[in-house]
């Protein structure tokens, strides 16, 4: 029995190592991170109220027309060619809806003084390369030369919005003439309600379930119950953090822990008594709470965190500019 334990453990180590090896590929591209909204000001050149205003405008635009326009500022490209970087980032975040590919990415490398507008497959007809070049040369360039990043971005975004939907009326962004029209917007990101709901959900589902499995796992000689417990933990990891690797680690850990618990149960009388006494009849109430927690979770997340883009792609259309 101990022999099988070691082979399974060794197998998991091998599988995990292989997974890491196959996923790892030498890329010069370094991702700036996950998107926190339509506007991602990694170079921190936008004041808070401008950021919120542009974010609100792009968010409303997406709700009204499904087109996803994103603005990203980064400090530097680090020698990476801007066309390469922008295309990879566009696809990494999946800007635009998957079926329509209606995304646009406006990337500004602030210290390098280079920018690019990349257009998704679906919008190439309306937003031509020439049009994006003019936006950069005529609107962004003079503004950026003066250090007015907000003004330049707002001008370009307005231009893009009108290219995509000529009838659309810009409401949240201040026009270049006026400046501080503070708009109450919704900032993206996880907030306390989100975390609370996730915790409630895990507790309501997990505790009775785990108590039952731990009891069964310790009592029985077979140690696959631990695998199930680990599997559930892994699924939770996936749902929250999309970590498939964690599933394997969790199953492996679960198996190992169950094995240890089984031995403890056999050898230690006090442990045996404690396990047998665990009350596992609260499974039903746990199930009921699960639904409540689950609906609370979905309510919480739709309220405040940025759900990400729609999975669209770009074929390299658009143009680059500098200032």
């Amino acid at each position: 029995m101990r022999f099988y334990f070691f082979t399974v453990a060794a197998l998991f180590i091998v599988v995990i190592t292989m997974m890491f090896l196959s996923v790892h590929s030498a890329q010069a591209y370094k991702s700036p991170g996950k998107p926190t909204g339509y506007v991602n000001d990694f170079a921190e050149v936008l004041s808070s109220d401008k950021h919120i205003a542009i974010e609100k405008e792009l968010s409303n635009f997406e709700k009204a027309t499904t087109n996803e326009i994103s603005v990203v500022t980064i400090p530097t490209l680090d020698e990476s060619p801007i066309e390469d970087y922008t295309n990879v980032l566009f696809r990494e975040w999946g800007i635009g809806k998957e079926d329509k590919n209606n995304g646009i990415l406006f990337l500004i490398a602030v210290d390098d003084h280079i920018m690019r507008i990349e257009v998704g497959y679906g919008l190439e007809g309306n937003v031509t390369d020439i049009a994006t070049k003019h936006l950069q040369d005529d609107i962004a360039r003079p503004a950026f030369r003066n250090g007015d990043y907000a003004g330049g971005i707002i001008g370009v975004v307005s231009g893009l919005v009108h290219l995509v939907e000529p009838e659309y009326v810009v409401t949240s962004m201040p026009s270049s003439a006026m400046s501080s029209q503070t708009v109450q917007g919704e900032r993206g990101g996880i907030d306390i309600f989100n975390i609370l709901f996730i915790v409630i959900w895990i507790i309501s589902l997990g505790v009775p379930l785990f108590a039952g499995i731990i009891k069964k796992g310790a009592q029985s000689k077979a140690w696959w119950h631990g695998g199930i417990a680990g599997g559930i933990l892994g699924i939770i990891f996936i749902v929250i953090w999309s970590a498939w690797i964690a599933l394997l680690i969790s199953i492996g850990t679960g198996l190992i822990i169950d094995f240890i618990l089984s031995i403890l149960y056999e050898k230690n009388i006090r442990f045996k008594k404690w396990i047998d006494a665990l009350n596992t009849r609260r499974g039903g109430s746990g199930g009921g709470m699960f639904f409540l927690g689950g609906s609370g979770l979905s309510g919480g997340s739709s309220r405040s965190s940025f759900g990400g883009f729609g999975g669209g792609s770009s074929g390299g259309g658009g143009s680059s500019g500098s200032w």
């Binding site: 295309n87 020439i130 074929g315 390299g316």
Partner: protein, 194 residues
């Protein structure tokens, strides 16, 4: 380990797992192969786009730099070769020729500042750069899809399934370095190790 009466069940289960995996692998290969084909077709789409831009480019440059006849001749030559190319290899050769003629044309254009100051010409250059970028992206996508399928085709045990599905190793697209005067970088030079 396993009670005798379960041995048969155990063996059947193992066989079932292998068969299910085999079917999955077979279908995956079909999909991967089709993906490579469609990426290849996408390159053609973008090359065609560039092909269509060239007459405008030539016309606008000819007005100013009419005496540079060799380059225009080479470009026209390469272009007709491209439209006459039937096999994939011919098209690759022809498109490389177009690229080399185009880059020579762009070097010449540097000597004529009147061109640079013309908005119409600059717009044409924007279109050309956009097209070149699309070609480069399409080539990269193609090479990426070839990398994915080749990795599985050669690995054991999936290479058995690949042989059964008549899916073979695909060929990478090697592209020559092209010099451009305007800042468009050719990132299609991915020559992965075999």
């Amino acid at each position: 380990m396993i009670p005798k009466k379960y041995t048969n069940l155990f063996i059947i289960a193992i066989i079932a797992i292998i068969v299910i995996w085999g079917i999955g692998a077979y279908n995956r290969f079909i999909n991967l192969n089709e993906k490579v084909n469609s990426m290849w077709a996408q390159i053609d789409v973008q090359l065609q786009r560039r092909y269509d831009l060239i007459p405008n480019l030539v016309q606008s440059v000819q007005g100013v730099a009419g005496q540079e006849q060799t380059v225009f001749g080479d470009l026209a030559d390469a272009r007709s070769k491209y439209s006459g190319a039937n096999t994939a290899n011919d098209r690759v050769t022809a498109s490389n020729q177009i690229e080399s003629a185009l880059s020579r044309l762009l070097v010449i254009v540097e000597n004529y500042p009147t061109l640079q100051s013309s908005q119409a010409f600059r717009d044409l250059m924007t279109q050309l750069e956009g097209t070149e970028n699309r070609v480069a992206v399409a080539r990269k996508d193609y090479n990426d899809s070839v990398q994915v399928i080749n990795a599985s085709v050669r690995r054991f045990p999936s290479n058995i399934i690949a042989w059964m599905a008549s899916v073979h190793k695909r060929v990478y697209l090697e592209t020559p370095e092209t010099q451009k005067t305007t800042p468009v970088v050719d990132f299609s030079n991915l020559a992965p190790q075999e």
